[in-house]
């Protein structure tokens, strides 16, 4: 009797495990690009492009819209006949917000699938983790992460679509200087993006007559930052500058309100997420950050080419996924279209010719701004592509 009962439990357990495994595989499987669409077989072999995104881990909220965008845009490019008659085949790998896994994913995409270009990674640390293999294989990489190191530690093969910290930091410091702030405190995550932001701020702050009175770090997954903020509170800073793209940003805002701190909290383009506003609730009010105009395309001027590109993307994304895209979706849009444009100009698709063609990108109007790459500038954007947003009434508004 007892044995039968136990066997029953084991069978039931096995069934559930198999179900769960099936579910996980269905969700994680490499989603290939739409190559089967259309009746006739494509006349030429598809072009293979790989993407390394953080679909799990602390940047999962960034990787998801990036994946959505890549799938939507590759399907759109292929539906319109592909590039020079060749379809794009997309391979997406998850790096779990881990530089080591990003590196492994890059190897897999290059060696196993033979991709001619890489998109990603989502995070700065992950992007840097891929560099060794990008260099070894000579494959061009278009990163969607915002750390300055990505293009400051220059690599001819590596490009970047978000506004890098070396662009956003001066823009932010200029604004602080204009508001009469002379003493700031820094709080950032201990990962690639946060540390990079702190380094750039400390280097540039003296140029704006600003001193840094306290510098605090937290780790991804921390549940409380009141200790760090208590240190900041005692340092006499006139503003708190936060540099992180993780979900901990909302905790920082809430903890500041809880401690009764009245100095303004200034963030970065890493905080342009709805989840920050819902997570911090009333504590998000008055929070400012610099980001591109995609959150408010009116800023481009109605009818301008930039406006058309941004609103067309926003409309299609909203229709397909039920919510408006954020800035991270925009970075992925720019990455795939910069590659697709470059593909259109090469006579023979090889990684090195594609790299040269990407470097030739001039005046490309994307969602994040207008890109002009050169042999020395692989970020390609200007401070005029940025505006300052303020959270008021639970919404982003442009600060004049």
């Amino acid at each position: 009797m007892a044995t039968t009962k136990r066997t029953g439990g084991r069978i039931l357990g096995t069934i559930i495990l198999v179900l769960v495994a099936a579910l996980s595989i269905a969700g994680c499987a490499t989603p290939a690009g739409d190559t089967s669409g259309g009746g006739a077989a494509p006349p030429k072999e598809p072009v293979k492009i790989g993407a390394v995104l953080s679909l799990t881990g602390s940047y999962a909220g960034l990787g998801a819209p990036e994946k959505n965008t890549l799938l939507m845009e590759v399907a759109a490019i292929n539906a319109a006949g592909g590039v020079n008659g060749r379809q794009i085949e997309l391979f997406i790998e998850d790096d779990a917000t881990d530089p080591a896994k990003a590196q492994a994913a890059a190897v897999k995409l290059i060696e196993q699938y033979g991709v001619v270009a890489l998109i990603g990674a989502t995070g700065t640390g992950q992007t840097m983790g891929m560099r060794g293999d990008v260099d070894r294989a000579g494959v061009p990489q278009v990163s969607v992460a915002g750390g300055t190191v990505i293009t400051a530690q220059f690599d001819p093969l590596v490009f970047q679509t978000p506004w890098s910290n070396s662009l956003v930091v001066p823009f932010t410091l200029e604004r602080l200087k204009k508001d009469g702030v002379a003493k700031i405190a820094l709080i950032a995550d201990s990962g690639g993006f946060g540390k990079d932001g702190i380094d750039v701020i400390k280097k540039l702050a003296p140029d704006y007559g600003i001193t840094v009175s306290s510098e605090q770090l937290f780790n991804a997954g921390d549940t409380d930052m009141t200790s760090q903020l208590t240190k900041i509170k005692g340092s006499g800073a006139q503003a708190v500058v936060m540099w992180t793209a993780g979900k901990e940003a909302a905790i920082v805002a809430s903890n500041m309100k809880q401690l009764g701190m009245t100095v303004p909290l200034v963030g970065s383009h890493g905080n342009a997420r709805r989840e920050f506003i819902t997570g911090a609730g009333p504590a998000a009010e008055g929070f400012t950050f610099a980001a591109g105009k995609v959150l408010s395309p009116d800023q481009y001027g109605t009818g301008s080419p930039e406006y058309k590109v941004a609103t067309d993307f926003i409309d299609r994304y909203t229709k397909q996924y039920g919510s408006a895209p954020d800035t991270f979706a925009g970075h992925a849009y720019d990455a795939i279209h910069i590659i697709a444009n470059a593909l259109g100009t090469v006579d023979e698709v090889t990684p090195s010719k594609l790299r040269d063609a990407i470097e030739q990108t001039k005046g490309f109007v994307g969602v994040g701004g207008t890109f002009t790459f050169s042999p020395t500038d692989h970020n390609g954007m200007k401070a005029t592509d940025l505006v300052t947003y303020e959270v008021t009434g639970g919404e982003w508004t442009v600060l004049k």
Partner: protein, 293 residues
């Protein structure tokens, strides 16, 4: 540094400490009944918060109903984990069971990602309102809930342990499974109840913390590690040891930010853990509390 600032660091440390304590309680409960470290304990914490948010958003339940619902669902998951994943292998050495719990935690985490999505989710505060200020230190109202729930959990556990037949059976099982069965204790059922209790503690921590930090499918692993460290610090003994372990860990982290550097706070906490294990391998309360129970 003034008194209000110092007090603020202590408040912050005790707040994190209470969370670690609730997780550590779950670890030591399961350990004392089975000799197994349940690495799925952090996932119970994650499930508590996620199910509460889901119950409010998708089922439209009010917070007052969503919180107990989340605890009940997690308790059911805890009992099922024991019944389906561990009981069929209960005569294997503890190492096998520990590895099974690691597998269970992976399954629960990926299941949560599929069901609830990859984004962080927010739960409203139990009692919204400005912080309570005591001697210049601000205490969030939700923190008072965390402390209150930890105290209640500790008292209830202590009552179960000392005043009920179930508690007697749990203590007997902890000493020896074979001897307990000889005198008529259904040890399999006791272990299942222990898992359910551990799940309840995890879920309670998860829902109490979600309004402070938001929650996501992947919060379990890290908090599980902290709770495990707290449990080891306390010596994997009785409930009081686990709670003290949690509070000490939280305080050390917070005070290292105050007096050393926020960069090294986790490292300092781990060094302390190692130091304790070197000097007193059975943990802060190791031997004495084992004998009492």
């Amino acid at each position: 540094m003034g008194v209000p600032e110092l007090l603020q660091f202590v408040v912050s440390g005790l707040k994190n400490g209470a969370i670690y304590a609730l997780i550590a309680l779950g670890f030591s409960l399961v350990y004392s009944a089975t000799g197994v470290i349940n690495f799925a304990q952090g996932e119970f914490y994650m499930l508590g918060g996620m199910v509460a948010v889901w119950a409010m958003r998708s089922l439209g339940l009010p917070l007052l109903a969503a919180v107990p619902a989340a605890v009940v669902v997690t308790v059911a998951v805890g009992a099922l984990v024991e019944r389906l994943a561990l009981r069929p292998r209960r005569f294997e050495p503890p190492l096998v069971l520990i590895i099974i719990t690691i597998g269970v935690s992976m399954v629960l985490q990926s299941l949560a990602r599929h069901l609830f999505g990859p984004d962080e989710l927010a739960l409203p505060a139990f009692t919204p309102g400005p912080s309570v200020v005591v001697l210049g230190a601000a205490i969030e109202r939700q923190t008072l809930w965390v402390w209150g729930l930890t105290a209640v959990a500790l008292i209830v556990l202590w009552l179960i342990y000392t005043r009920t037949k179930l508690g007697l059976a749990m203590r007997a099982t902890a000493v020896s499974h074979d001897a307990s069965r000889l005198v008529g204790v259904d040890t399999a059922r006791v272990v299942m109840v222990v898992f359910a209790l551990a799940a309840a503690l995890g879920a309670l921590a998860g829902v109490a913390v979600a309004p402070l930090t938001q929650t996501a499918y992947d919060v379990g692993a890290r908090i599980g590690l902290k709770g495990f460290a707290a449990a080891i610090l306390g010596g994997l003994g009785g409930p009081v040891a686990a709670v003290v372990g949690g509070l000490v860990l939280g305080l050390v982290e917070s005070l290292s930010v105050a007096f050393i550097s926020s960069t090294y706070k986790d490292a300092i906490a781990l060094v302390l853990l190692l130091a304790v294990l070197f000097l007193k391998p059975s943990g802060l309360f190791g031997r004495s509390s084992r004998e009492k129970v």
